[in-house]
């Protein structure tokens, strides 16, 4: 049955994702039969690498390749520097070039394993913004003060940055071995409009819809996602005041001055042939302090 095969494939993919290998250098020696001048270029690349001048090291290995012809060892060392530079795609390309040039390499299996590790490494995301004193949330979980570096598995992810003056949410798709700098500056239009609000309503990367609605019962205007002010109390509202979600969003706003962070996670909505079906949601509520 196709479903079973797909499940197995997805599980296999998830199992492969993992941390980036540690940045320990592994360098190949100078290839045999080189002239003294070419050896010097190769060794200068090693010395530059050891001194932390990584761009210079790569450029010297490239000079070596120009002078002596493409060398498997030079490509390996370039890939090794690129791996430590956190340029995984380039490292993979150059490890492959090494294997092309040295098909009988004794460490072929190790290099193939390393390529596999890099290709399936967790997605790296740098989450930051402009306003100081902000908190970062990833998939509804508090990571800590901004900035944060997170390593995540494949799929859609939702992020929030709550600053003393505002809020910004975003979403991104994690791809194996990838990288993204997610800049979450406060929404500029809202930056200077009165108090920033004591409630943040946000959603997961799998919850497609966003917008605002006026709750018929309470008359409250909800922004989704958004940051707004509500007096202390208990709140229950159905997004867009219709049946798009199976459950309402329910939360309490406490009397003290914390921010109530309401995160709504959803099962991916069924698409073709399932119009009108509601989406199951789970609401997670946290009270947090933002600012110095």
């Amino acid at each position: 049955m196709k479903t079973t095969v797909l499940t197995i494939l997805l599980s296999a993919g998830a199992a492969l994702a993992g941390p980036i290998p540690p940045p320990t250098p592994i360098r190949k020696p100078v290839p045999p039969g080189m002239t003294a001048d070419n050896i010097k270029i190769f060794v200068k690349a090693i010395v530059a690498d050891k001194a932390g001048e990584l761009h210079d090291a790569i450029s010297k290995y490239e000079d070596f390749n120009k002078e002596s012809g493409d060398s498997a060892n030079a490509f390996y060392n370039i890939a090794d520097v690129e791996r430590r530079m956190e340029r995984l795609e380039r490292a993979i390309k150059d490890y492959k070039k090494y294997l092309d040039l040295a098909p009988q390499a004794a460490d072929r299996k190790e290099v193939e394993h390393l390529i596999d590790q890099l290709a399936n490494a967790d997605f790296t995301v740098v989450l930051d913004g402009a306003e100081p004193g902000a908190l970062i949330f990833l998939d509804g979980k508090l990571l800590g003060p901004s900035p944060q570096i997170a390593h995540v598995g494949p799929g859609m992810h939702g992020v929030d940055r709550i600053s003393p003056s505002g809020h910004r949410e975003g979403s991104f798709e994690g791809k194996p071995g990838g990288y993204q700098h997610e800049v979450l500056d406060d929404w500029s239009a809202k930056k200077h409009e009165g108090p920033p609000g004591n409630v943040v309503l946000s959603k997961s990367g799998t919850f497609g819809s966003s917008g605002s609605w006026k709750d018929k019962q309470s008359g409250i205007e909800y922004e989704f996602p958004g940051r707004f002010t509500l007096p202390p109390g208990h709140y229950v509202t159905k997004p867009w005041d219709d049946d798009r979600t199976c459950q309402p969003i329910e939360f309490d706003v406490p009397k003290h001055g914390d921010i109530t962070y309401v995160y709504v996670d959803a099962e991916p909505k069924a698409k073709k042939g399932h119009h009108g079906e509601c989406q199951n949601i789970v609401t997670r509520v946290q009270n947090v302090k933002v600012g110095p």
Binding site: P29, V30, M34, T35, A36, I39, K40, F42, V43, K44, I46, V47, K50, A51, G52, L54, H55, M85, E86, V126, D128, G129, A130, P132, G133, P145, S146, P147, I149, Y179, H181, V183, D185, P292
Partner: protein, 296 residues
């Protein structure tokens, strides 16, 4: 010095070739062995200059790890640290399984960490931006190396020129000079075991109660996203501040700063990083802060 073993090794290179006829390799190996043998005799006599020339000749004819090692050792004895490092690395790169690899790595490590000397100097008094050293606090990489009242001394290594000698590790160094009325900065590089002049100048008047310095001019203390201070003295009212720090386009953790209430004092902040400037994130930062006191 690699002596007998090396000779055997050089000959062994020739003997490893087919015996049927003399290959070009034989010809080169023989010539290299001759130059190497002659180099050894000069090396033993202590004529390092001639020995070096002959070793380099041997290496140019037919490169060999032992020749590289001996060149490195001659450079080491001549005090040419960078050249010695390059040749010891050549030895290891040519012979990764060398039985004395660990010992050679230890030699390289020692050489790499041989301190160099920065000679902090300034221009003649005819230059309006010349420093009167005694009026300045001088910092190297955020560390205080000269307090108020320090005078430069005549340095024999500089033919008696006046300087403040500071031992430093090889690499690029951020220098700051702060007086009650001025601020100057420079970036000076020195190689392992090297001696470099480092010239400092400061505008006659640069006021403000805080000095911010980034080791590579890429990490700034920001008042907003686009306006940062990288090597600046600025006016900041006394008080406690939490300041935004950005490394290029990346946000970093903020720093706390106390600006002294004594109007004669200055808060000095240095932000350094040991990491490569291509990482796409805020790098690991070292923050050093100092309160500088000036008498009215």
């Amino acid at each position: 010095m690699k002596i007998l073993v090396c000779l055997i090794a050089l000959v062994a290179v020739a003997h490893a070739d087919p015996i049927r006829k003399k290959t070009p390799t034989d010809k080169f190996a023989k010539a290299a062995a001759e130059a190497f043998t002659e180099a050894l005799s000069y090396d033993e006599k202590g004529d390092l200059r001639t020995a070096l020339g002959l070793y380099e000749k041997a290496q140019g004819i037919a490169p060999h790890p032992y020749t590289a090692y001996n060149i490195g050792d001659v450079y080491r004895r001549m005090g040419k640290i960078s050249d010695a490092i390059l040749m010891f690395e050549t030895y290891l790169a040519m012979w990764p399984d060398a039985p004395d690899r660990k010992e050679c790595e230890a030699i390289i490590d020692k050489l790499v960490h041989t301190p160099g000397t920065l000679y902090l100097m300034t221009s003649e008094k005819s230059d309006p931006e010349a420093l009167a050293f005694k009026d300045f606090y001088i910092f190297v990489d955020g560390e205080l190396v000269a307090k108020l009242g320090t005078q430069p001394k005549p340095e024999p290594a500089l033919n008696g020129k006046l300087a403040i000698a500071v031992p430093v590790q090889a690499g690029s160094h951020a220098i700051d000079a702060v007086s009650s009325i001025s601020y100057g900065h420079a970036e000076c590089k020195v190689i392992a075991g090297g001696k470099e002049e480092c010239h400092l100048r400061a505008k006659p008047r640069v006021d403000g109660h805080a000095v911010f310095r980034s080791s590579d001019n890429r990490v700034g203390v920001h008042k907003d996203k686009s306006h940062g201070f990288y090597a600046d003295r600025v006016e900041v009212a006394p008080g406690h501040y939490r300041l935004m720090v950005r490394d290029r386009s990346f946000e970093c953790a903020p720093i706390d700063l106390d600006v002294p209430s004594d109007l004669n004092d200055v808060a000095y902040v240095y932000i350094g990083t040991p990491e490569w400037d291509g990482f796409e994130r805020c790098r690991k930062l070292t923050i050093k802060q100092k309160k500088l006191h000036f008498d009215p």
